[in-house]
Symmetry: C2
Subunit: 237 residues, 2 copies
């Protein structure tokens, strides 16, 4: 048994304080010398902790300006978390229209994946995403009602902000990491109708579990993607 190194403890402490809201998204952290003094470590050790948090995209550092708690932006939500590419490898910007919003008891699967109590409820949202003007993706989203009290979105109109921006601004939930499982499935009748493809046509099914800054599951998303002229892009290293 040996204690974790100093820089790891500083990193953990900073992450916890940011998650607790000591510095809200967009706010500047104290300067390096100030933080180093506060934690009783050298500036070099503090920098190592900050570098790790920056790599996890919890903070953003700007030379000459300061260190800021990362704000969810549409660019980030789309660039990191929306992996759809067109045939040339470009990343089109999707449009989204929600058509259903519910509050209902969580299913057994939702309870398991979102770590919910037996009789917990979820906010259930369904939306259609259009890529290059054409219906391309049908999404069912489940959110723990407890963390998303009073969740509201306009239906049947184009949504302005990315959902993850909305989560952060209105519910204090910052998505930092998502896990996805992809399969190929035949289009159910309802999805075929909404996506404008044949019933039974092959669709890319994406099941996503999103996690917050403390790595707790905060969103379960089930999506069906029509890969007509589109693909899901991955990079592994």
């Amino acid at each position: 048994m040996s204690a974790p190194p100093l820089y790891a403890r500083v990193e953990r402490e900073l992450r916890a304080r940011i998650a607790a809201g000591e510095w809200p998204p967009g706010a500047a952290l104290p300067t390096e010398p100030a933080l180093a003094r506060r934690f009783g470590v050298s500036q070099g050790t503090l920098r190592r902790a900050l570098a790790a948090l920056e790599a996890q995209r919890l903070i953003a550092r700007r030379q000459g300006a300061g260190t800021y708690v990362a704000e969810a932006t549409s660019e980030r939500a789309l660039f990191h978390f929306f992996r759809v590419e067109d045939a040339a490898g470009r990343r089109p910007v999707p449009r989204s229209i929600a058509h259903r919003l519910d509050l209902r008891p969580a299913s057994a699967e939702e309870r398991a994946l979102l770590a919910l109590r037996p009789r917990a409820r979820v906010v259930a949202l369904e939306r259609l995403r259009l890529v290059e003007g054409r219906p391309a993706m049908l999404e069912s989203i489940a959110l723990p009602a407890a963390r998303f009290r009073g969740f509201a979105l306009p239906l049947h109109v184009e949504l302005e902000d990315e959902l993850y921006v909305h989560y952060q601004r209105h519910h204090g939930v910052t998505v930092l990491r998502v896990e996805e499982r992809l399969t190929a499935e035949p289009a159910p009748a309802e999805a075929a109708r909404r996506l404008g493809c044949a019933r039974g046509a092959p669709l890319l099914a994406i099941r996503r579990l999103a996690h917050d800054a403390l790595d707790r599951p905060v969103e379960l998303r089930r999506a069906l993607l029509l890969t007509r002229g589109l693909a899901y892009g991955v990079e592994l290293r």
Copy 2:
């Protein structure tokens, strides 16, 4: 215009030397003080370069032992580059059987993606992968003949090593990064026969471009995955 920082130049130089074979896979690099002297930088700066190479998995560092050029291993090939999971999220170890090996002119697409000359040739390999004993994935692999001279593999028997281990051991090609594009496609007759599914059944189509230590494309792979009880797992952050 300003020069890149020292640590970046040291990193580039080290990467080039490793790629050139100055230290072959598995060999130990000189110690930190020795390398620092050789490059005329402080040990701290050298460490930063080494840390970057380690993050890219080009080298592996072991406290008390030394710094080693990374060797391709089946574990790494499977863990990083084979993203298939079963229903419980476990990562089964696949078995592979090649059934076709050819040397033929590169197609236009292969020339474009692999950056080949007009009349270049490719080694073409087809194999079937079994997961948990059942046929699950059909792969067509194209390799630039110029970098894979004398490529040979036994056909119709289970393959011992992962391909990427074979590439490194026999052809000096180290795969560090792959890009993939995923779509859902109906099973062609031939694939359906080999995978034991209905013709037209939805398959997960994976198009992979693999890159070496200098980020040059070295392999084009087209795979069809039958996601029956299986899924392709991704993590984004």
